[in-house]
Amino acid sequence: MSLEPSDEARPGRLPSWRLLDLGRCAPARAQAFVEAVAVSVGEGRVPNTLVLAQPSAPYLSLGFHQSFHEELDPGFLERRRIPVLRRVEGGGTTYLDPDQWFFQLAYRDEGGGRGGPEDLKRFLRGPVAAARSLGLSAELRAPSDLVVGGRKVSGNAGGDWEGAHLVVGGFLLGADVRAMADALRLPHPALRPLLRGLVAREVTSWEEAVGVRPPWERFRQALASAIATEGRFEARTGAPTPAEEARFLEETLPRHSDPAWRELPPAPRRAGSLVRRLRIAGPHGLLVFRGSGEHLAAIVDGDRLVEAYRVGDGPTDALEELGEDGDGRAAVAELVASTPSFA
């Protein structure tokens, strides 16, 4: 399928995009086939493209700038033995599984957008509209989360890759919040229940919010239609080209299998006592500071301290909540104030 330039040039005619429904497929294909598509899109060999996919198995996805060793819990990796992929887009570590359904846009400036964070907001209007048409009252929480009742139901990110812009995201049809929390590395085991509670509070799912999940066929139709309407293009069902399939096998997959790609070195740690900064959803996150013989933890909402905790260095030391009036909480509040906010 190809664009017909004469039609494109006709006044009032919407540009045509290709719709690729990869269906249920291996994690690497669900996550990264769009990177092979981006090359074709960037070269102008295929139209701008909307990809839909479901991963067939759980895996972990690191944001492009995140550190494999600092982000992921070694015990979780040992127990679960699931793939770890480094996406080319931004954002934080995500645990993904067959209960999460993906949408990915690859586009050029022409008929798409100029790229950058503004495109995220613009193209996420489609998934919001699709969710609402299916009974899920989602809304955008900037920069890129979709939320229901303030709880995250869709995480999204973007980037420029090989001459194309990419907006990628997915809906949580179900949410394994335990796995999401347990995949993340923490400096002390006593912090794990704290993180599990935070993830459970801030993350929801289609099933939890509505009581039932839509069938894939209905979901894909609603999503493709709404993304096309909001993006002002016409989606035409297509198939991957042989060049895209070849590039995926010969370049994309080997790169994602390369430990040097997966384990890119971390950014340098900023000076100070902050040892872990975990954004869970929007402004909500967990900060952990190194104290003298202890760790201090803060659950924050933007720059506001919600809860404060202390735990000693011993591996069996218990977590202690710091009350409103104590000096300990004031010290944690001071540390939070000196840390870049999630807001």
């Binding site: 420029d160 040097a260 950014a267």
Partner: protein, 130 residues
């Protein structure tokens, strides 16, 4: 390209990498940085990973990356060549790219050189932060 230092604003129109400026230095290398326009458009930059000193980069090969509001921009050098120096400051303080992209936030110096003329496929694109 002339022997005179280029104004970053002039270099902004470079068709290879419109987000970057370059300036010819006295030693024949090019200093490369992010344009003010690109820095503004990105918003608050929270991550930056620079190129590897001593490594040659082909045209269009990702050499550096920056992230703002969950958007990652992968930057190719505006001309193929070998990176002879990287500026460690924006790696340690990505916000510098917003505050002074055409001054203290320069990215690297490049010795322009011949390549095989082909765009390199993306590999492990960037190296260890300083």
């Amino acid at each position: 390209m002339t022997g005179a230092p280029q104004d970053p604003a002039d270099a902004e129109a470079c068709p290879v990498a419109p987000t970057l400026w370059l300036r010819l230095e006295a030693d024949g290398t090019y200093r490369v940085g992010l344009t003010t326009t690109a820095a503004r458009r990105a918003g608050a930059i929270v991550h930056y990973r620079g190129p590897v000193a001593g490594r040659a980069y082909a045209a269009r090969e990702p050499a550096a990356s920056l992230e703002s509001e969950k958007w990652v921009e992968h930057l190719a050098l505006p001309l193929p060549g070998t990176v002879v120096e990287v500026n460690p400051l924006p790696t340690a303080d990505p916000g510098l790219l917003n505050r002074d992209p055409e001054g203290a936030g320069w990215l690297c110096r490049v010795l322009a050189g011949p390549t095989d003329g082909r765009a390199a496929p993306p590999s492990v694109p960037t190296g260890a932060p300083e």
